[in-house]
């Protein structure tokens, strides 16, 4: 084919022009592949982070919160206080039975904090609701560890009158942590699951004397798997530690539900019910049915939890969604524009040549085909070189690795705890951070898309050049000298 030889001669003997056009398209393709891969990788990383939050859209939680004002527990309304007292009395503030004032003491008190309990049978009732796939019951409590000298009643009364901050004046120390009773077989619906284990092992159903520690709490307390813990006078073995789930509800320590119920003297009581709907469109009905199950119940959707996730990962994902599109479009337009300009420049430079070919009997269609063919070859070369450049760049970035961080709002296993004053250190909730390696990959789809876009840009450039070539009048072209 003469036209092929002619195109080959043009492209190889006008090398600088060809290289410029190919490079312009190649850079465009490389940007498409690179940015596309990065955006995809960030999306996947975000999905990886958010997936453990539950099957978003189908998970619901039922709790029975107590509205707590700015004054803390002491500000509770009479009805709410009565409910709390009925459950746990005011044990944390009663020192009468510990001994005489000034005598040393040590005890663990289980506070219900801000969630009221409800009967465990409600879990079975919830499971009967149409559209419910699974339920998992949980009990979360705050463990208040007190150790020191029994305060005199008048000192205690004074401290209570002055407010929570004055409790620090009393001659004993305290420590708090959150503890959750979970169904070890509750899977992702439970507050912790086997997949979160970072050391040791997970709890087994029916197991006694075993406790799990969260990584953060274990680090704070210097606890490791295999250590012994004394809780409310009983000995426990830390059988393992678990990672916090980003944005999900979490506690410092986990026990099987029945054991915590017994330990905290809340037999048959739970304060958290996780429910999974069969399908997202059933969530509304299930939510309504759940709300009517328990007086004062509050039903929340797991999807809300995802909103609490923030950090560079989410920023990057949000950025990648919009920016990637803009970068892709701009780079493609720039690449196509350069290719068009190079092609138009080439046609302009070849005006006399085109006029001569027309004079010796080349039809306009043949000339147009020649220009178009050359541009398509440039487009193909741009696609190949660009794909290689893009894949190489992606490989280099993947090899070096990008790390983005996702932060979850501190996991309030106990809803409303944020507003509890720091009297017992309860207000200090750890933020869960998760670092994710973003590994971009130049997928065949991206390479194909980049290649097609380069060909498209080459076609546009070719059409522009061909349009210009077709408009060249041979008589006018031949008047050109040089």
């Amino acid at each position: 084919m003469f036209l092929v030889r002619y195109a080959y001669a043009e492209l190889t003997r006008r090398r600088a022009r060809t290289v410029l056009a190919v490079l312009a398209l190649a850079v465009g393709v490389a940007v498409v592949v690179g940015v596309g891969s990065a955006a995809r990788a960030v999306d996947e990383a975000q999905r990886e982070v958010l997936d453990p939050l539950g099957t978003l859209g189908t998970d619901l939680t039922l709790t029975r919160p107590v509205q707590v004002g700015g004054g803390g527990l002491l500000d509770l309304g009479p009805e709410e206080q009565a409910l709390l007292e009925a459950e746990n009395g005011t044990a944390a503030f009663e020192f009468d039975n510990l001994g005489d004032p000034g005598e040393p003491f040590e005890r663990d008190v289980f506070l219900p904090a801000t969630q009221l309990t409800f009967p465990e049978e409600e879990a079975a009732r919830a499971a009967q609701i149409d559209g419910v796939e699974a339920v998992a019951a949980g009990l979360t409590v705050v463990v208040l560890h007190q150790e020191g000298l029994v305060p005199a009643p008048e000192d205690l009364a004074e401290a209570q009158r002055l407010g929570p901050a004055a409790l620090n004046r009393l001659d004993f120390t305290f420590d708090t942590w959150t503890m959750a009773g979970i169904d070890p077989e509750g899977g992702s619906l439970a507050l912790a699951e086997a997949g979160q284990v970072s050391s040791g092992r997970f709890l087994e159903a029916g197991e006694r004397g075993a406790v799990l520690a969260s990584d953060a709490w274990a680090a704070r307390r210097g606890i490791e798997a295999g250590d012994e813990l004394r809780i409310a006078g009983r000995e426990y073995t830390v059988v393992g530690t678990v990672r916090e789930r980003l944005g999900a509800q979490a506690a410092d320590a986990y026990l099987p539900l029945a054991e915590l119920q017994e330990l905290a003297e809340r037999e048959g009581r739970i304060n958290l019910l996780a429910v999974r709907a069969e399908r997202s469109e059933l969530v509304g009905d299930v939510e309504e049915a759940l709300a009517g199950l328990v007086d004062g119940a509050q039903v929340g959707a797991s999807a809300d939890v995802a909103d609490r996730v923030s950090g560079s990962l989410v920023d990057a994902a949000d950025l990648s969604a919009g920016l990637a599109r803009v970068v892709l479009i701009v780079s493609l337009i720039a690449a196509a524009a350069i290719a068009v300009l190079v092609t138009l420049g080439s046609v302009s430079q070849r005006t006399r040549e085109i006029g001569t070919l027309r004079a010796i009997g080349w039809s306009p269609r043949r000339v147009v085909g020649q220009v178009l063919g050359e541009s398509l070859v440039i487009g193909t070369l741009g696609a190949l070189v660009g794909s290689a450049l893009g894949a190489g760049a992606v490989w280099l970035v993947a090899r070096r690795g990008i790390e983005l961080e996702a932060s979850g709002a501190s996991a309030p296993a106990i809803a409303g705890l944020e507003s509890v004053p720091a009297a017992f250190g309860i207000g200090e909730l750890a933020t869960v951070n998760e670092t994710i390696s973003v590994v971009p990959q130049a997928t065949p789809e991206l390479l194909l898309a980049g290649g097609l876009l380069a060909l498209g840009a080459g076609l546009v450039a070719g059409l522009a050049g061909a349009w210009r070539a077709a408009r060249i009048e041979p008589a006018e072209a031949l008047r050109r000298v040089g």
Partner: protein, 266 residues
């Protein structure tokens, strides 16, 4: 008009009141005014005239590269005005050859490819195109330069490639626009000898624009363009001191080719 047994051979070119105006909206320039002439097959016609007199415009009209504003033009008996653009392109490809002052070779194609370009679309196979191009290059003395790019050739060689390109399709008409205008005197003389020799051996009509009286004198007919007007004139007399112009003779072509092969000058 020449008569061939059984049928009439039409003139190669027949012009009747051919006119070409250019207008930029406010001013109209008459490049060719009422040009009338008949150019028979197998004849050599020179067109002389000062720069800007409309010679090149006339040649482009004759080569169907431009459309007259008025008047009639028949190419090989076909009315140009009745031809479609495609028919004009086909006629140029199959029956007309062009030789330009600046050679107008495609710079990225070799000498053979430049010649072959004139056969593209004629239906000739690739092998046939290559063979005919090689033969034509051999006839102009450039067989050993077939694979060279134009920039690797001297001006004379480039013009010989252009002549090969013009003749490879066995055209009925060759239109040459100052074919020696960009060459030194000796090379120009060699090139014109070659062109005339090739044309004289066929029934091709050659119309050439030239500023060189010596070249013009080699023609059978002499036309002069003056401010767009075309008129037939007698050839300028030879200057007294000028050497007698040799006439084409058997074996002369071979000598020219040998000389051209021996010394390549720009």
């Amino acid at each position: 008009m020449n008569t061939v047994t059984g049928h009439v051979t039409p003139p190669a070119l027949q012009l009747g009141g051919l006119r070409r105006e250019f207008s930029d909206g406010s001013e109209t320039v008459v490049a060719v005014a009422e040009a009338t002439a008949t150019i028979d097959a197998g004849t050599v016609t020179s067109i002389i005239g000062p720069s800007g007199s409309g010679k090149t415009t006339l040649l482009q009209l004759l080569g169907l590269l431009d459309t007259p504003t008025a008047g009639k033009l028949a190419v090989l008996g076909q009315e140009a005005a009745r031809m479609s653009a495609a028919e004009r392109t086909r006629l140029r490809r199959d029956r007309i050859g062009f030789v330009f002052q600046h050679f107008n070779l495609v710079p990225t194609l070799t000498a053979r490819e430049n010649v072959e370009a004139a056969l593209v679309g004629t239906g000739a196979s690739r092998q046939e195109r290559r063979e005919r191009s090689s033969i034509m290059l051999d006839r102009v003395g450039l067989a050993d330069r077939a694979g060279h790019l134009p920039q690797q050739l001297s001006g004379g060689e480039q013009q010989r490639v252009a002549i090969a390109r013009a003749l490879v399709g066995n055209p009925a008409i060759i239109l040459a626009d100052e074919p020696t205008g960009n060459l030194d005197e000796q090379t120009g003389q060699d090139v014109i000898e070659l062109l005339l020799g090739l044309v004289r051996t066929s029934d091709t009509a050659l119309v050439m624009i030239t500023h060189d009286p010596a070249v013009a004198r080699r023609a059978d007919h002499h036309l002069r363009m003056q401010a767009g007007h075309l008129e037939e004139v007698l050839p300028e007399p030879e200057p007294p001191a000028a050497a007698p112009v040799p006439q084409p003779a058997p074996g002369r072509m071979a000598r020219i080719v040998r000389r051209l092969r021996g010394g390549r000058r720009g």
